[in-house]
Amino acid sequence: MTDPALLQVDGLSVDYLTPQGSARACSDISFTLRRGEILGVAGESGSGKSTLITALTRLQRPPAVTSAGRIVYHPADGEPVDLVAQSERALRRRRWRQLAIVMQSAMDCLNPVMRLGAQFTDVLRTHDPSLDRAAAWQRAGELVRMVGIAPDRLPAYPHELSGGMRQRSLIALALACDPDLVVMDEPTTAVDVVMQRQILAQVLRLRERFGFAVVFVTHDLSLLLELADRIAIMYAGRIVEIGSSADLYHRPKHPYTKGLRDSFPPLHAPLRELSGIPGSPPDLRDPLPGCAFGPRCPRAHAACEQAVPPLRTVEAQDVACVLYDPQNPEATAHA
C-alpha cells in the first residue's frame, strides 16, 4: 500500500441542530484513503455512517452541519484542496468528475420521469460540453454494458427496470465521468444475495480496471470482509477501530468489533458459537462522558467512564479502547 493519499479526513465532526439541542452524529473522524483503495465503514443503524457519507460528499442539508475538521482531497494533478472550505460553485465542477456517489435506495435515486439514458447524458454533457447528443448516448450505452445491462434498455424509464438493474445502473452512472472516488452507501441492501454478489464482483472488477477508490458504507461486516482493503468500525459517531480486513477479522481489538464479528456466521471457517451484542446504541443528543460503548461492553470497568478513549495504534490497527492504554492497570493489551 504505497499509493499516494487521495483523501485525508482530519477531525471531521458533523452536528444535527435540533430544537432540543445539537446531536453529534460524526465526531472527530480521521482517516486517510489511498488512491484505488476500498475502505469499508461498518456500524449499526444510527452509528453515523450515512452522515459521514453526506459529509464527505458535501451533500448534507440542514439541520446537518459540518462543525469541525477538514476533508483534504488530492487531485491527480494540482494542489490539494479542503472540500469543507470549497464553495458550492467550486464543488460543482468537482462533483462526479472526481467525486461520485452510489446511494442506498435505487428505487428512489433515479428520476421517475426521465429515461435512463437521459440521466446519463445530462451528467456527461454537463461535465463535457463538447460531447454531442449522439456521442453521449453512445457513451451511456458503453457504461451500462459494463454492468451487464443491454444498451437497448437506455430508453426505458426507471419503473420499467428491475431492482437489480436499477442498482447496477446507478453504479454505472457513478463511473460516468471516471471519478477518483466513489462513495457507496449500502448499495446492496435492497437486492437479494445473488444480485448482491454480482454487484460486489462488478465493483471489484471495475475498480481493477479504472482504479477509483471506494468508501463503502454498510451494516454488514461480513460483506466488507470480502470487499474492502481496510475497514473502519463506527460506533455512536466515532471510529472505534480501523485496520486491514484480515487483521480486523482475525484479530479484532475493540470489544465492539469482536461483538460484531461474532454476531454472524463465518463463510469459509468452521462454525463457532454466535453471540449478539445486548442493548441498543446510545442517544447522541446526550453523550456519555466516557466510552459510548461502555454500557453494553462485556469488559467495561471504571476507567471506561472517565474520558472518551482516543484512537491508538495497537499492532497493525488503530483502536479506541482503554483496554489498550498502557497506563491503565486493567489493560490486557494482548487479550
Partner: protein
Amino acid sequence: MRPAADPDAIRTTTDPPPAGTAPGPAPRKRRGALRYFRRRLGFYLFTAWAAVSLNFVLPRFMPGNPADTLLRDLQDQTGQAPTPEQVHTAQTFFGDPTKDLLGQYLDYWKNLAHFDFGVSVTNYPTPVSQLVGQALPWTVLLVGTTTVLAWVLGTALGAYMGWKPGSRFDAIFAPTTTFLHAVPPFWLSLVALWGFSYKLGWFPVGGGYDPKVPFSLNNVWFVLSVLKYGALPACTLVFVGFNGWLFSMRNVMVTTVSEDYVLLARAKGLAAWRVLFKYAARNALLPNITGLAMAIGGILGGTLMTEMVFSYPGLGLLLMKATTGHDFPVMQAVFLMITLAVLVANLIADSVYVLLDPRTRDEG
C-alpha cells in the same frame, strides 16, 4: 489483502457485451400510450352519453309536468299562446306525454346536434343557443386567461418557494398566501370595485366593453375597451387564484426536494436550474397539472360572483339571471355545457398526464 477477494472467484455471467447499441432514444412506448388514450376516450364518451341522457331523463321523472309549466310560463311572459315549434322543443327537452320515450330520446339528440335548446323564457323569443353563444366568449376570455395566468404565476412562485423551504422569501409569502387564499373572491371584487372604480375612477364600474364604441373585433378601440373593462375583474381573479396554486406547488415541492433523485442530481454536479426544473419541479408539477385541467373544465361555469359584481356579460351572469327567472331552457343548456367541458378537460388532463408521467403508461 482481502479474505476471499479474488474477483474471478465470484465472476458473474453478465458481462460479454451484446453487439449493437441503440443510437438514440426510441419511441418504444408510444403504442402503449396510444392504447391507454383510446381506452380513456371510450370511458369519457360513455360518461358523456350518460350525462346527456340523464339530462333527458330527469325532467321526465320530475313531479308534475315541467313541459306544461314551461309553456305556461312562456305564455305568462309573452301574453300569447306558444307556437307549435316552441311546444315541440319544450316537449323534446322536458317530456311529451303523447309520444313514446324512444322517439323523444331520438328527437332530443337531434336537437342537441343542431344546438337547438329552445327559446329563453326571460328573454323571449331569443333562442337559448344565441344567449349562450353571446356569453360564452366573454367567460372563456376572462376566466380562461386568468385561470392560466394564475396557474403559471402560482406554480412558478410555489416551485421557487418550495425549493428553499424556510428561506426568507418562503417565511414571508407562505403565511401571506394562506391568508389570501382564504379571502372570498367576490368580497375582494367588491373591495376592488369600490376602491379602484368608485373612489379612484381608474376603471369602469361594470360591463365587458365600452357601449359607445362600435362592437367589432376589427376595431382597435373596441379591443382596447375590452381590455380596459376586463382589467379589474381579471386582476382580482388572478390575485385570488394564484394563491391556491402556489400553496399546493410549494407543499409538493418541499417533499420532492428531499427525494433521493434530487440529491443525486445535486451530487452529479448539474447546474442548479437543471436540478430545479428537470428533477424537482418536473415531478412536483404533476398534481398541479391535474388541478389545472379541472379548473379549465370549471371555466364555463364562470365565476358567478365575480361576474355578478362586475356585471360582466359572461356565462356566470347568464346562469344567475336564468336561475332567478326560472329560465329552465337556459339553465339546462348551461349545465349541459359545463358537464361536457369538465369531461373534455378531464380527458385532456388524463392525456397530458400520460405524456408527463411514464409510470401511468403501463399497460394492463
